[in-house]
Each structure stands twice: as C-alpha cells, then as structure tokens.
C-alpha cells in the first residue's frame, strides 16, 4: 500500500528511527498545524473532524468531533483546559500506540496541537504507561525539539494560541486507561474512576474542562486537517472513515501490527498480514480487539473490522488488535489468564468487580486444575450475567472482563465439560 494510504505510519521507518522536525516536515508534517492556526477557527477544526467521522481508537469508538463539542468554548487564554493523550495502552494484546509513539512521536505532538487548538486547551499531557521507556525518551525528545522550534509554547506560529505538552509517566494499573481514572491519577490520587456527569469535557482534570483522546485517534488528526474530511472518510472501506492499526498476536506466523483501511476483513488481517497460523497449529478462536472483547470463532473470519460489523458478529472492535487462540492452547487456561488479569487490575472501588472477579478467577483455577464442579459452571454463568451488563458495576472494567468469559462459556462449553468430567485439563495433559 502506498504511503498516502497509510497516513498514520507513513513516516515510520524502523531503520532510520523516528523523524526529527525537519524530516517530519519533509514528510508532510506541520502542514495541518500551519493550515489550522493560519486559516481555520477552532470551530472549523472541530467541524472537519466531525465530518471526517473519526471515531475514538481507544476502544469505545465515540465520535471525536462530537466529544470535543461539549467543551466550553472560551479561548485557551481565558480558561484552564486540558488536552490529554491516553497513551496508557495496557489492554493485553495491544501494542499499536507504542508503535506510533516510538515510530513518529511528532505526529502525536501535532495531533495534540490540533486537538488542543480545536478545544482551546492550553495544557497538554501525554499519559504514558510506565513500562514504555523508549516511547518516553522519544516523546520527550520530540517535544523538546518541537518546543525549540516554536511548535509548542507561547503563541504558536505567531498566533494567539499557546500550548505545551508534558509527559506523565504512569506507575502501572490497567484502570488508569479508563479516562476518568486517568484524571484521578493525574491529580495524585488512587486511580478510581469517577462518576459522570461531570464529563471530563466540562469537569475533568482538577475540575477543569479536559479532553482525553487515544494516541491513535490523535495521530489521525494531522492528515485529516491536511487532506480534508472527505479524503479521510474515503480511506475506510465501510461506514467508518480512515485507516486503523490492526494487529495479531498468538501463534500466527507473523505477529505484528499493520495500518489498513478501516473495515478490512478479519480474514485478510490474519491470513495475509499475519501470514496465517504457524505450521502445525489451527485457528480455534480469537479476541478481535484486545482482552476485553468477546471471542469470535473461525466462522467469523469474514467479518469486516469496523465498529458496527464486529458488534454484529457478537464482539467489539476494541483496539483492533486480535489475540489468536490456537487449537493446542487450552481455552480455559486462556480465559483464566484473562480473568486473572482483570481481577488483579480491578481498582477495588465497587463490590461486584472487586470481589466478583477474584471469585471468577478462582473458579477457573479450580476447573483448570481439575477440581471444578458443575456448580462452578453455574457460578461462572451467574457472574458473566451479573457483571457483564453495563450499569451493574461502576465502570466498564468488569463488563470488559466478562466479554471473553461469557462468549467462552458458550464457545468452549465442551472444553469446560471435559475439564470437569476428567478432573484435569485435557490439553495440558495431552502436551
């Protein structure tokens, strides 16, 4: 695919490393900033983004332009507002934001400038997960250079707009990626999600209006502003515009991530880009968009990877990063691993999540270790039901945790039954 069709990753070159400001400009960078600050009003920028139909790439898929529209309109000079890049990327199986940040940090910086201009935020924060050391170095370097050249700081390009970015290196915990918990963390508190309202756009960080956008979402902005909403919308194969970073991990031949048109069929991602399964393994099922999406089995491979289609197939696009379960890995073991993750990463605020998930984990432990009972299956089903629906728990963490469990209970019913009947894990003992 040509570079023009890969606006997010066109400038990423693992050999030469991330482009500096000049190389970035040569590759088409800063055009959008010049255009926005020179010729567009903040409302124009929001309008273009709304028309581009860009949807948030952080997992929930909320319309980005629409999200911005709730922010009070005062100019940045009059009111403290924040634009925050969600670079917490802790969804198991997901490594797209790291790729973007390590590969071309300036594109994120520019995306943040554009978003901040649109909502008139003077303060930018990159909420970066603590383990991303290389990304941290490269972002700091890129920000420093951009600041030196006047892309960040007071009166950018001589305009009235001032904006700067600071990197917050986090200290772990998946829940920090949840946007309100992220804000709580930035305020130096325990990362518990907050109730909405107030939505971050009106009462976010330190009570000030704040926008939280995923890294990939933000990286889409420079090409959108530079090339226009229509160009972007046309990049997608279906209803959703633009490209998307898709990926695959597990026992595929070439695990990795690729920028592809939004709506690329799952089969193409797995079979072409990931090269199909490793020799000797068959695909059993997969989580299409990270750990908190429901399992799809091989029969769903023809689904187009856009928001609506994946949902119709019974799962969620999520982060678009698939995790593949092969035929020689125990599905119960995999679910147990996932639920261990979710139980451990619960913030401990609400009862069902805090005390329900560890119970689920223990039930799965028991089944996997051969001490499971039929009653345990009822308990798993009960938890999947009670924690799975939204509104039961304080935030979306527990429903996310139940997605692989609920789908797995159906899809792998026989495996569960075998574990209980044989009082052992058949797969582990076969190996």
């Amino acid at each position: 695919m040509s570079a023009a069709q890969r606006p997010l990753t066109a400038m990423i070159d693992p050999v030469t490393g991330p482009p500096d400001c000049t190389a970035y400009e040569r590759g088409g960078g800063w055009q959008a900033t010049r255009k926005a600050l020179g010729t567009l009003s903040p409302a124009d920028v929001t309008d273009i983004v709304t028309r581009s139909k860009l949807r948030g790439r952080g997992g929930a898929g909320f319309g980005t332009g629409q999200k911005w529209s709730f922010v009070p309109k005062e100019p940045a000079s009059e009111r403290r507002k924040y634009l925050i890049a969600n670079a917490d990327e802790m969804e198991p199986g997901t490594f797209k934001d790291r790729w973007l940040m390590e590969g071309n940090p300036l594109q994120l910086v520019e995306g943040m400038i554009l978003a901040a201009y649109a909502v008139q935020a003077g303060h930018g924060i990159i909420f970066l997960r603590g383990e991303y050391h290389l990304a941290c170095q490269r972002l700091e370097h890129a920000i420093g250079q951009a600041r030196q050249l006047g892309w960040l700081g007071p009166n950018i390009l001589g305009s009235a707009f001032s904006f700067d970015i600071h990197v917050h290196s986090s200290a772990g915990r998946y829940i920090c990626g949840e946007e309100t918990a992220l804000l709580t963390t930035l305020e130096g508190r325990r990362a518990t999600p907050r109730s909405k309202p107030p939505f971050p756009q009106t009462g976010g960080l330190w009570g000030a209006p704040s926008v939280v956008n995923n890294v990939e979402t933000l990286c889409n902005l420079p090409p959108i502003i530079a090339n226009g909403a229509e160009w972007f919308a046309a990049l997608g194969l279906g209803d959703d515009g633009g490209t998307k970073i898709y990926g695959a991990s597990g026992r595929v031949a070439r695990p990795g991530a690729w920028e592809l048109p939004m709506g690329t069929p799952l089969r193409q991602i797995i079979e072409e880009h990931a090269g199909g399964m490793r020799p000797g393994y068959r695909l059993r099922a997969l989580l299409p968009g990270g750990a908190s999406t429901a399992f799809l089995d091989a029969s769903a491979l023809d689904v187009a990877m856009d928001y609506a289609s994946v949902e119709k197939a019974g799962s969620r696009l999520g982060t678009g990063m698939a995790i593949v379960l092969d035929d020689q890995t125990c599905p119960i073991g995999m679910i147990r691993n996932l639920e261990h993750f979710f139980a451990q990463e619960s913030c401990g605020w609400c009862t069902p999540c805090r005390d329900g998930l560890p119970w689920v984990e223990r039930l799965l432990d028991a089944i996997e270790e051969g001490t499971g009972t039929q009653e345990d299956m009822d308990q798993l089903g009960r938890h999947a039901r009670m924690l799975g629906a939204p509104g039961r728990t304080f935030c979306a963490h527990a429903p996310g945790a139940m997605a692989p469990l609920a789908s797995g209970l159906k899809l792998f019913a026989d495996d569960f039954a075998d574990h209980i009947a044989q009082c052992r894990c058949p797969q582990r003992h076969a190996a």
């Binding site: 325990r190 907050r194 107030p198 009570g207 000030a208 009862t351 009653e375 009670m386 509104g391 304080f394």
Partner: protein, 921 residues
C-alpha cells in the same frame, strides 16, 4: 414535591434527592452501604440496585443504582424486580466472600448494618468455597478498635474521615480485593472525630474501644437521650447503660446541631462517670482527714453549720439549670454566685447580650454549614467547640455546591461535586493567635494577638459600614487583610462571624458583633456566633449572680459562715492564693459534686452528686437552646441529684431554724417552695416563674407525666436477653425496674417506643429490619431533615427576624495595638486543647491518654531554647518550648489548666531561659 411509582405504588416524594433516599423515605426496605445521608452518594457498593423504567411502555427497564439516580417526576421503579433482587443478594454474597463468620464474637453484632442488609437481601447461602483473604489489624489508639477482616470496602470510613472531617491519617491502601483501610503505620488516629468511625462503618471494622472493655449487646443495655456536657455546643447523645454503669455514648441526631457526628471529647469523655475519682458517700473533714459519714449525720452536720450564720452559694457553668436554680433558691439572690470569675462572667454576659440584640441570624450549626463566607475572629473553635468547627469546615464547600448547581450535578452526588469543586474557592478566614484545624481549608489564615485581631475586626466593620468607628494606625498589611475579608463578607449571601471568649477579650466579641451588625445593613440575616466555654455557661448567664471575686469580698467582710458549692472546682478558676483565702475565711465549706476535685479535699462537708447519666436536667447551649438530658443509670444511695441535695439542705435549715426559734419563712428559699418540689418538673415550673426568660426550659422536653399510647416509654430494646442471667447466681427472678420519677421512661423493656416518639425522648434507634444506627432514617420526616417527633430543645433567645435591622450602637472600645512589654514579661495566651483543657473529660482515661504533654509555643526567635521557665501566679513552671511561625514576639501560648490549674485567660508573666534563676523543682 413530586411522585414516583414504586412497584405499582404511588409514593409522594421530593425532587433534589436520589431514588434510594426516596425509597427509604417511602418506607421501603432497600439495602445500601456506601451511601450516607451526610456523605452523599458515590455508587461504590452497588447494593441499592433497582430497576427503572423509562415510561409506562417500557417493559424491560434497566438496572440502576438507586443512590446514583436522581428522583425524576413520575419515575417508575421496581425494588421487587427479580433480577434486581437477585443482584442485591449477589452483592451481599460478594461482600461475604472475604467477610469472616464471626458475628457471635463481633462487637457490632446486633446493631450491624451488614447483618441487617444481609437478612434484608435474602442472601443466606455462601457458595464461595475458596480461601478468604486476611488482613492484619492496627492499633489506632485509645478510641477506636480495628478489625480489618470484617471490611466490606464501602469506603465510608475514608470518605468520612478525610473528606468530611478533614483528617489525613486514615487512608485506603493497595488495590483490587486487597484494599485496606487504616493508617500507613500503627498509631493514634489524630482527627477529632475519629470515634464516629464506629457509627459510620457499617460493620465491625471500627468499633468503640473503651466500650469494648465493658461490652454489652445493644439489646441488653438501657438507653436514654442525653446532652453532651463537654462544651457549650450541646450535641445530642444517647447514653447506654447496663448494671448501673454507663457503657457508652452514641450520637443522637439533632437536625440543627450535631446531626450525625460527635467529637471524640464528647464520645469518649464520659469515663469520669465510672472513674475512681467518683464520690459515693458523704465525707466530712475531721482533724484534717476526710471521713465517710452516713447521710443523716451529714445533714445534721449541715444543720449545725447553717445555724452558725449566713449561707452563700456558688453554682457552676457545668451544673444543670435545675441545680443552679435550686442553689439560688436556697441562698437568695444576694449571696448566689455563678461560680465564675468576674472576667469570665463579664464575657459570658456580653456574649449573651450581643447575641440577644444581634439584628441578624443566630445560626445553628447546620445553618453554619451553608454560610458562604465565614470569619473566625480570635477563637480556636476546633478546641473550644469542636463540633461547631466541623460545621465551619463544611461551609467551605458552598462554592463547590454552587458550581455543581450550575453544572446541574446534584449536591448529593459526592464524587462529582468534589471533582467539579476541585478549584472552588474557600470563603473561610481564620484570624487567631494559634494555628487551628481549620487553617488547611481556609482561604486565608492569619496569626495575630487578640488585641490586634479585635482591631482588625473593628476595621472590617468600618469597611462594611462607615458608621462603625474607624481604627487608627492600622498597618498596611492589616488594612489590606481587612479589605479582603470585608469584600468577601459583603459579597456573601449568608455571611457568618464567629468569635468567643477563649481569650477573655470582650473587644474580640464586640468586634465580631460589630461586623455582623454592619453586615445586617446589607444582607438580611448575617450570622453571629459567640462561643462560651461550658455546657451551661449560657444558662447561668441568663440566671445571673455575682462573681467569685464578689463572694471573696463577702467572705472578707465576714458575711459568710457557710458556702455551698455545687459542681464547681473553683481551683480551676481562682488563683491558689484566693482559694486558700476563701477556704480560710469561710468556716464551713460544703461541696456537692460527683467527682473528688482538688477543692473537695479542702471542704468541710462533701455530698455525693449524680453525673449527667444518673439524673435528668436542662442545659442551655451557646445558641441559647435549652435541652434536656435524661437519667439512664440509677446510682446507689446516697448519691442523688444536686438539686435534691440542696433541697435536703433546705430542709435541714428549716429544722435548724425551728430549733433556733427563727421563722423558717424568713429563709430565702421559702419564696420558691424548694422543699416542696417532688420531681424535676416542679423545679422547672418554679424556675419558669422566677426567670421568665428561662421559662422555655420547662418545655425543652415533655415532662415526667408524658405518656405515649397511655404508656411510659421503654428505655431498653424489646428483646433484652441477659437480664436474668447476670444475677442468676443470686436469683433468677427479675428485679423490678428502678423508679424514675423525673422521666417518662420505664427503665425497662416494657413501654411504648416508635419512630414518632417525641424527639427529645428517643432513647435509641431501632425499627423492624433495622437494628443499626441506620434505623435513624425511619425517625426522620425527611432523611437528613427534622425528626418525626418534632424539635428537641427550645431556643430561648427572642427571634430577631422582625424584618428591619435594629439600630445598633457600635462599640467604640477599640484596643490599642499590641506592643511587647519592655519589662521582660511576655503575654501568656491560653491555648485550649481538644483533649486536656476540659475538666471532666480529662478524668476519662482514653481522653487523658490523648492529651499531649504541656508545652509552650513562641515566635521562632523566642523559642531559641527548647525549654523555658514561665513564672505564673502559683510558681515557676519549666516547660518545653516549640517555635510557631507567625506568632508575634512578646507572646507565648500556654495550654489552659495544664500548667497552672487556674490559668485560662491571658496574663503577663516573666519568661526566662533554662539558665535563668535555675530550674524550679
């Protein structure tokens, strides 16, 4: 008003509350944990799940958390919905995953919210079959016990302790199902309201530690409504007793005063009642020794004393109105002292006068919570009126509430309001000599000496109303500060000025009143609150009497042969030389008190009185509210009420008079039928006649003849179990309940009880399905609002809302600026402490354990030595010194009553370094 439909039943309710509140107010049993009426909703426990339908055609509806959902007009909800019920039972089951099965040994048992909710949810089978996680407990000091395994992580404790009470040494630690609530390290909880954790915690994690030592189940104790005696705020309490010992003090809801919270001094100060310092028999001084003597002999002894000449009386601001009044009746107006020094009496009188003529509002504590600008002028309210300080702390949230209103976020949506209010400004200004607990939430806190604070206050009044006198020679900084405060107060809808008599400085109270009066020309009801020191200081101010100094003069003039001192240790008030002189001059000193004070040791006759738990009586708090406390313990004779002792003395005087052939009719008390009084209501009836201003005291609570459904009220829960067991080695028969002539209580399980009972008579909270303190919800007309049983107590000050502000003669008595003395003396300012300054609570072992050792505080330059010698009236005191930034030079702070017993108002004294005249012994 609006209406919602709960499971097909139309229930009138109100907007502005959440559905959980609406359901509870509608009498529904909907379980909850994390929501608390005073702390708002945060949606953590997920226990209050219900189903809500979007309209009549919506058959599916959705599960919502009732506490997080505002009432909307005609909302359709179902509590009974099978899935909602199932989910609620599920939540209990999750909470039980790690909860131990230790109810039988848990001190929360029988009044445990978790027990109630478990039963209510219907959950009864625990299917979790794996190992429970366990925690280590911490030693949190003398007040609160910690048992973390029982924790259900509702987050109430930290929300109360940190967000509400401003504590910072209790926190949530770790995450997921390892969350832990405690301190970073073992240690004493520092916040003044830590004891409330026992009531806030819905299970047995935090419990009352002193109570634990003499623990009894809720249902095996008698309860009585009471009033705290440890400061002038007058918080309402419930006292629990068993086997004629006082076991614990709980909060009793009063919508206008303490609401859901007591301070630790109030909750744990009751230990003096059971302390070894109690006097249990009459004592008389014989050859320098105090020996016990029988009642009749004691009274005969008094007859002889009275026959020797005139009898004077010294009352006490810590004694009930009835005791003070009876004494006044005994000795007559001329020889009746309030038991206060002249300065103290002048201050209390001034407070009374200023409040009574204040043209604006005299806010209740609850009103204070919604003051939008507050000036604290020279009073450490957190030490002198702790619960009031907590109300002032809440006032700083006003701006965030307004922000929430603007964002259309309900005020009870606690997390959201706190998020929105992160940058909302505080409207609280604190100007005091010493740091106070309110400093951290103040917009500004300033250190100055009382005279300079008064000057600032007058300057503020002048800025608000130019008709108020101007202050000459104000420093530039002070002028700017005055302007800032004046601007804030003038911009407020409900401004409030708080001062008091901690520094014995009338100018401070005058200045505060001037500001409030000046404000009255701009806003309808500016608030004024003046803090007086003791639980009945205000009542005594209304009763009147001469000062202690005047009594001393009388003694010097040889006009007193006998002094009857009621519940007053005057060694805390008069310098030792004065006490010694008084004792030497007056041949017969009679002390009626419950506790062996230093004064008792010098008394010729000591008569054992009841404590607040052993009698009934009336106290008038700092806002002029008369409140009744009721007897819960029936002490062994000859302990009796002070007023009954006084009555007994009157009778002996009568018999003595007959003997001496003088007419009993000439005795002062005969004017008031003192010897005819049968019960407390008789005393109050005469009090009302004698002091019309105090007439309201009689109706502070229903009289002893009150009956509900024709019955007395029971003071025990209906299922007392251990009543025969305890005495089974003696007899298995029930003992007849003790007679309780002064109360409408039956002191047993028999009698009427219910949520509609008169508010001043609620002996405890319990309704079917609700055995914990949460049963209170059912006793309120609206949750967080008034009690169903009406008001408790009667405010005695005439209401001043006659529309227009009364013309106010501003005080012109503006002190000159403070200048350090040239004669090497320093101004010693009293520093009252939450624990340590108040007389009775210091006799309670857990409170005494919390009192810090006395220490001086001085400006950093003066604190060059870490010890210094302070020459007070009695003797030199060698004390540690610690620096206090912001304190002017020439001033030291010294804890009241702890260095020299009588020290509590500013004095000038010599201070020298440790190498001065040598260490005093």
């Amino acid at each position: 008003m609006t209406s919602i439909r709960i499971d097909g039943r139309d229930c009138p309710t109100r907007t502005g509350i959440n559905l959980l509140q609406a359901c509870l107010e509608a009498g529904e049993n909907l379980p909850y944990f994390c929501w608390h009426p005073e702390l708002g909703a945060v949606g953590a426990c997920r226990q209050c799940a219900i189903r809500q339908f979007s309209g009549p055609d919506d058959k599916a509806g959705r599960i919502v958390m009732a506490c997080m959902t505002p009432v909307s007009d005609n909302a359709l909800i179902s509590i009974d919905d099978a899935e909602a019920r199932d989910f609620r039972a599920g939540v209990i089951e999750w909470l039980m995953v790690n909860h131990p099965h230790d109810c039988p040994v848990c001190e929360e048992g029988g009044e445990c919210h978790l027990q109630d909710m478990t039963v209510m949810s219907g959950h009864n089978l625990r299917r979790y079959r794996f190992t429970k996680r366990t925690h280590r407990n911490q030693d949190l000091g003398p007040f609160v016990k910690h048992e973390m395994n029982r924790c259900i992580a509702c987050y109430r404790c930290v929300r109360f302790y940190r967000d509400y009470a401003g504590g910072d040494d209790l926190a949530a630690f770790a995450s997921h199902d390892h969350v832990y609530f405690g301190r970073a390290e073992d240690g004493v909880l520092q916040n003044a309201f830590s004891g409330n954790l026992a009531e806030i915690c819905p299970t047995g994690v935090f419990t009352d530690k002193p109570f634990s030592a003499t623990y009894s189940r809720k249902w095996d104790m008698r309860g009585a409504p009471s009033v705290c005696v440890h400061c002038a705020v007058g918080c309402n309490t419930i006292v629990n007793a068993r086997e004629e010992t006082l076991r614990r003090v709980l909060n009793r809801y009063h919508a206008d005063i303490n609401r859901y919270v007591l301070c630790d001094r109030g909750r744990f100060g009751h230990g003096f009642v059971n302390a070894p310092t109690r006097i249990r028999t009459p004592l008389c001084l014989m050859a320098g020794q105090q020996v016990a003597l029988p009642l009749t002999e004691a009274l005969e002894h008094f007859t002889r004393m009275a026959a020797q000449g005139t009898v004077g009386g010294i009352a006490s601001p810590r004694a009930a109105l009835e005791s003070c009044f009876s004494l006044r009746a005994l000795v007559g107006e001329a020889r009746f002292s309030t038991g206060q020094t002249q300065l103290e009496q002048d201050c209390v009188q001034l407070a009374h006068t200023l409040l009574a003529k204040h043209p604006g509002a005299l806010p209740t504590l609850h009103d204070m919570e919604s003051a939008d600008a507050v000036l604290v002028l020279g009073e450490d309210v957190c030490a002198t009126a702790p619960r009031l300080g907590l109300s002032l702390r809440q006032s700083v949230r006003q701006a965030s509430f307004h922000d929430a209103d603007a964002a259309r976020v309900p005020r009870w949506m606690d997390g959201a309001v706190r998020t929105l209010g992160a940058q909302s400004p505080s409207g609280l200004f604190v100007i005091t000599p010493a740091p106070t607990d309110l400093d951290t939430v103040a917009a500004q806190s300033v250190r100055a000496v009382p005279d300079d604070i008064a000057r600032l206050g007058f300057a503020i009044a002048h800025l608000i109303d130019p008709a108020a006198p101007a202050v000459a020679d104000l420093t530039e900084a002070d002028a700017a500060l005055a302007q800032r405060v004046a601007t804030a107060l003038m911009a407020a809808q409900a401004p409030l000025v708080v001062s008091g008599m901690q520094y014995g400085a009338p100018a401070l109270m005058q200045a505060a009143a001037s500001i409030a009066a000046a404000l009255a020309r701009r806003v309808p009801r500016p608030g004024l609150s003046l803090i007086v020191p003791e639980c009945n200081s205000m009542g005594l101010a209304m009763l009147g009497g001469v000062s202690l100094e005047a009594m001393l003069e009388m003694a010097r003039a040889g006009e007193l042969t006998t002094l009857v001192i009621v519940e007053n240790d005057i060694t805390r008030r008069l310098p030792p030389s004065d006490v010694a002189e008084l004792v030497a001059l007056v041949p017969n000193i009679v002390v009626i008190d419950h506790t062996a004070t230093p004064l008792c040791r010098q008394a010729d006759l000591v008569l054992p009185a009841t404590t607040f738990s052993e009698c009934s009586g009336t106290l008038v708090n700092l806002e002029g509210r008369a409140q009744r406390f009721f007897q819960v313990v029936f002490p062994a004779a000859p302990i009796q009420e002070s007023w009954r002792w006084v009555q007994a003395l009157a009778r002996s005087m009568e018999s003595g008079a007959e003997h001496n052939a003088t007419s009993p009719a000439d005795l002062p008390h005969t004017a008031w039928h003192l010897t005819d009084w049968q019960d407390l209501d008789d005393v109050l009836a005469d009090l009302a006649l004698a002091f019309p201003a105090l007439a309201g005291a009689a109706s502070a609570a229903p009289g002893a003849d009150y009956r509900m459904n024709g019955q007395k009220l029971r003071s025990q829960t209906y299922r007392a179990s251990g009543r025969t067991v305890i005495r089974s080695h003696i007899s298995v028969h029930d003992r007849p309940p003790p007679a309780s002539p002064d109360t409408p209580f039956s002191s047993s399980m028999e009698g009427a009880y219910g949520p509609d009972m008169p508010a001043p008579l609620v002996p405890g909270y319990q309704v079917p399905s609700w055995n914990s303190v949460q049963a209170l919800n059912r006793f309120q007309q609206e949750i967080g609002g008034r009690l169903r049983g009406g008001a408790a107590g009667v405010r005695l000050f005439p209401p001043s809302d006659d529309g227009e502000a009364r013309a106010y003669p501003y005080s012109t008595d503006i002190p000159p600026p403070f200048t350090p003395a040239a004669d090497h003396t320093v101004l010693v300012l009293p520093q009252p402490c939450l624990f340590g300054s108040e007389e009775l609570s210091m006799l309670s072992p857990p409170v005494a354990a919390r009192a810090a050792p006395p220490m001086l505080r001085a400006a950093p330059r003066m604190a060059a030595f870490d010890r210094a010698i302070l020459h007070l009236d009695d003797r030199p005191h060698s004390l540690p010194v610690s620096p206090l930034a912001g304190l002017p030079e020439g001033v030291v702070l010294c804890p009241t009553h702890r260095v020299m017993r009588a020290f509590r108002f500013p004095v000038r004294a010599r201070l020298e370094g440790p190498h001065g005249t040598g260490e005093p012994s």
